[in-house]
Symmetry: D2
Subunit: 188 residues, 4 copies
Amino acid sequence: MTKVVIAYHSGYGHTLTQAQAVLEGAKSVPGVEARLVSVAEITDADWADLDAADAIVFGAPTYMGSVSAPFKTFMDASSKPWFTQNWKDKVAAGFTTSASQSGDKLGSLIQLMVFANQHGMIWTSLGLMPGNNSSTGSVDDLNRLGSFSGAMAQANADQGGDAMRDSDLKTAAHLGQRVATLAAKLRD
Amino acid sequence: MTKVVIAYHSGYGHTLTQAQAVLEGAKSVPGVEARLVSVAEITDADWADLDAADAIVFGAPTYMGSVSAPFKTFMDASSKPWFTQNWKDKVAAGFTTSASQSGDKLGSLIQLMVFANQHGMIWTSLGLMPGNNSSTGSVDDLNRLGSFSGAMAQANADQGGDAMRDSDLKTAAHLGQRVATLAAKLRD
Amino acid sequence: MTKVVIAYHSGYGHTLTQAQAVLEGAKSVPGVEARLVSVAEITDADWADLDAADAIVFGAPTYMGSVSAPFKTFMDASSKPWFTQNWKDKVAAGFTTSASQSGDKLGSLIQLMVFANQHGMIWTSLGLMPGNNSSTGSVDDLNRLGSFSGAMAQANADQGGDAMRDSDLKTAAHLGQRVATLAAKLRD
Amino acid sequence: MTKVVIAYHSGYGHTLTQAQAVLEGAKSVPGVEARLVSVAEITDADWADLDAADAIVFGAPTYMGSVSAPFKTFMDASSKPWFTQNWKDKVAAGFTTSASQSGDKLGSLIQLMVFANQHGMIWTSLGLMPGNNSSTGSVDDLNRLGSFSGAMAQANADQGGDAMRDSDLKTAAHLGQRVATLAAKLRD
């Protein structure tokens, strides 16, 4: 089986909802098993799963222009597998959520890419054309925010993860499917 | 008089419309004179005006994830005033347009900031709280895209500059006013 | 008096050494008082000093491609003064250290700029030409790493803060002096 | 045969020297054919080769904080294969040169990554530990600049491509070999 681990932090539930969509997308690929790891309560068994994974997908909310502090704590702790190059050549991808439509989410995705590159990983783009960018487009379009480096979701500051847009979750699921497909192909 | 120059490139008219909004915002500040410079047809007199300016605002469409090639040509040509440090300590700011809601516009603003920093300039943030980020928000809110590093505008791919949202143009005008105010204060 | 606060995190002493150089540079400007705030042990009195400051300089080591987790914890906690816009229009600048010569330090400076922009601050570039970039250059040159968006320092992984290069510390002191000079001018 | 195309712009010969090292590295992989495309004089046959490639490596000097204008002209012209998604799922990587040791080269690599992501490509990190970052390190170490997102080279402003450091060229060759290996594996 190809193993995909989605390592995420969620402050208020929005990023968890997005992570679950990535998970469903990954699981939809034949021969792939996938699971979530909540980095705020990561265990030794989780670290072992990350070492054993074919692909790791990183997800965090964008707070003050970059990934949340609990996720950064996880990133810094990953200097241990970095020294031993345990994650080298694994497939990577990223997703992020914020309340603003654009809102510096690209900053978080760039941060995650630069991080994955330090680990010697292979970064998977979103692989979708942009939606919601013409007079006939709508917020229900796939990739309605026009992201390419990973999956973005926008969630209203006064609503929970259950109110997130289906288009953003389908976009996240697309990324999960894409990452899993690439990981399966490279493992083959 | 405090002098503000808005150096822009516009491929299809959207960024020109945004530049005109920045211009109006700058002109609204007492004691400030402002003008546009189209970098695709820049003259020696324009370069002299840039040297004499208290503030330079940079604006370009986001094409393939960064500022348009004609604008980059202008940036590279500015290595001449860089060698002589002619733009050092001037006030700077930036704006960009793309068809996507988010669409890598932050990448262009980061590129403009890093560029202005090489020139030794002082970068002006947008200075607005985000709009359109709650259940009561709308696309008519000021800063509806949630940008902080400069002014962003989204323009539908199948419509011209005349169809741009008033909220984006008011956001651009706010940036123009803010840059001009800071430049006037520093000149004082 | 113009007040400058240098908010820093240091993991092994290198960034503290760099922060002290920034402090000396800031203090060298007439009419300026400056102090360090260690964000890992920040107090209510420190937050009040940040609110009262004319300029805040941000400094952290680059770990795994972006600012250290303890510094990010401080950034996220600053969402409180952000909601009330307490830091709006203050002068900002940044510095960072890593063991590698280049080593993703620009990623940390970009992260700090985007963060300062969300707060509505004014970003101060380093304002130096690059050193150590020709056949007659050396590691003893001011700005020997060729940074523009803030001050960079390189510190060997197997040596302490006391072994840092004088050229990097002079570069940091230059940034402190430059930030303090701008803050004093804007306060005037 | 697995096809690798190295699309580059070189202003003064340094990036051409680096591109040739990437080329040698790619050619060293069994079953791989590789060639250079000079984007400043790109032909229809070159565009067809890019469409037919398994991997495209992008290389340009860093001018004023981002890739050179001639390279950006090529990037903008690639909106044609983007509309038809011709480069989707190809392997990508990047390299850049500047006179400064750090000198905003990460900004260029980020720009190239964001660009490759828009095309729906798969980004290859450098896959090396950093060199020249301890008291026993030297400028002759592989990855002596400490880059991870692609290959960096530093070339003195007053010397030609023939004076470039062997360590930087070996680092570039490593990237070429790594990209070709991944492309061959994915084609398999």
